[in-house]
Symmetry: C2
Subunit: 241 residues, 2 copies
């Protein structure tokens, strides 16, 4: 019954609410009137992958072996592409892509498409994320060549607003996360950002429906739309192989 | 990195929002401060399973082969138990359980536990669901021996409120689903139901946070709590094998 090659593989669990939300956003982004109109998905909520920021910045346990095992699980389940709703995990993107023949949809490419869709095709933007994502310039590396200049929160804002906000989401305390994360968005806007990329998949969850003075780029939703696009184009891609 | 035997397998996609929501509820039901505190999950969003009600009542395509293929996928992915966040699919429970050595958590048992937790240990309750679930008395068969008497919506209420409400959720129109489904809940309460089981996993989605005059039993949340309980007890179960 499965549509061979068209299953969307999701390496989630980083965190688990973001992975679940990815599947919901994928559904909500697609018009359909019955279950059968929607893509088949295999989500592996790989909660036991070691902390990505700790590995990147503090010499913590390497998350790559567990992520590669997750990719192997998705391959064996019949996935035709892989989406990873965790920005920090993309610091290991090249190593993961080298280890699988399946296309791994890059979350920064998805964010760039969402920026364009929001009418921000270049110029100064804000990028929020984990300390690992920001320190290793995940967004700058792909967005600066496209004509974007990336502002990031100050060290004090990271310590007082962004890091506690992300931690609150991971502790299921979405209400507690909202105000500090929104304050960090507005600070970037005040410094000249025309849009702010919520470049950690925990951050959009408490900010849905929260008004900000500039567009907020929801990287879970952007990644889900990229996966939906892959699924819509998959029949032609598979036919061409 | 995976915890052998403790992965929660989810046969979802029936519908896709309910399956995604199951993983979210599983996360929200469990205290944790970091990703690694949460269970590993494999969700197969098996959207291509033929319509369950059509098969049960109208001679539509048999959903069992596709559901068994989904169970096989979850077994191969390393699942230690299976939860199916779709009530109507449980009409094929015995055939599915006979085809796998993994325990399949029965959604009516989960609803019964939630009823007890709500202080309703017997007596008259309401049950909403698809025409298939109600016609084949899925709830009555397991709940009447426990001392419950099940009221169900009238034919007119099914046609005007419940069926359109479920269809609206499947079309992503949650706002449109809320009023008719709540009206059906209140009608059962007015007829004497001390609680109403939302016995189709589409129904809780628009009713979260909606006040009703009696407790509403959310079968997605109940099923997620049953899976969490299995996960918490799994180390002892596995050690005893």
């Amino acid at each position: 019954m499965s549509e061979a090659g068209r299953i969307i593989g999701v390496l989630g669990g980083m965190g688990p609410l973001a992975g679940a939300d990815f599947v919901a956003r994928l559904t909500l982004a697609h018009d359909g009137t019955q279950d059968q109109d929607h893509p088949e998905v295999v989500l592996f909520s790989a909660t036991q992958v070691p902390n990505r920021t700790k590995a990147a910045l503090e010499g913590g346990a390497d998350p790559l072996p567990a992520m590669l095992a997750g990719i192997r699980l998705l391959e064996q389940a019949g996935a035709g592409c892989i989406a990873i709703p965790c920005n920090t995990a993309h610091l290991w993107y090249d190593a993961m892509q080298a280890a699988t023949r399946l296309p791994i949809l890059h979350i920064v490419n998805a964010a760039a498409a969402a920026l364009r869709a929001a009418g921000v095709a270049g110029g100064t933007i804000g990028v929020m994320g984990t300390p690992g994502t920001l320190a290793l310039r995940l967004y700058e590396q792909r967005l600066e060549p496209l004509g974007y200049r990336c502002l990031t929160p100050s060290e004090a804002e990271m310590a007082e607003l962004v890091i506690p906000g992300i931690a609150a989401v991971k502790a299921n305390a979405l209400d507690r996360a909202r105000a500090p994360l929104l304050k960090a968005v507005e600070s970037l806007a005040a410094r000249g950002a025309r849009a702010v990329v919520l470049g950690c998949t925990e951050i959009p969850l408490p900010l849905r429906g929260a008004g900000a003075s500039v567009p907020m780029i929801d990287t879970i939703d952007a990644q889900a739309r990229a996966a939906l696009q892959w699924w819509l184009e998959a029949p032609a891609l598979l036919a061409a192989q």
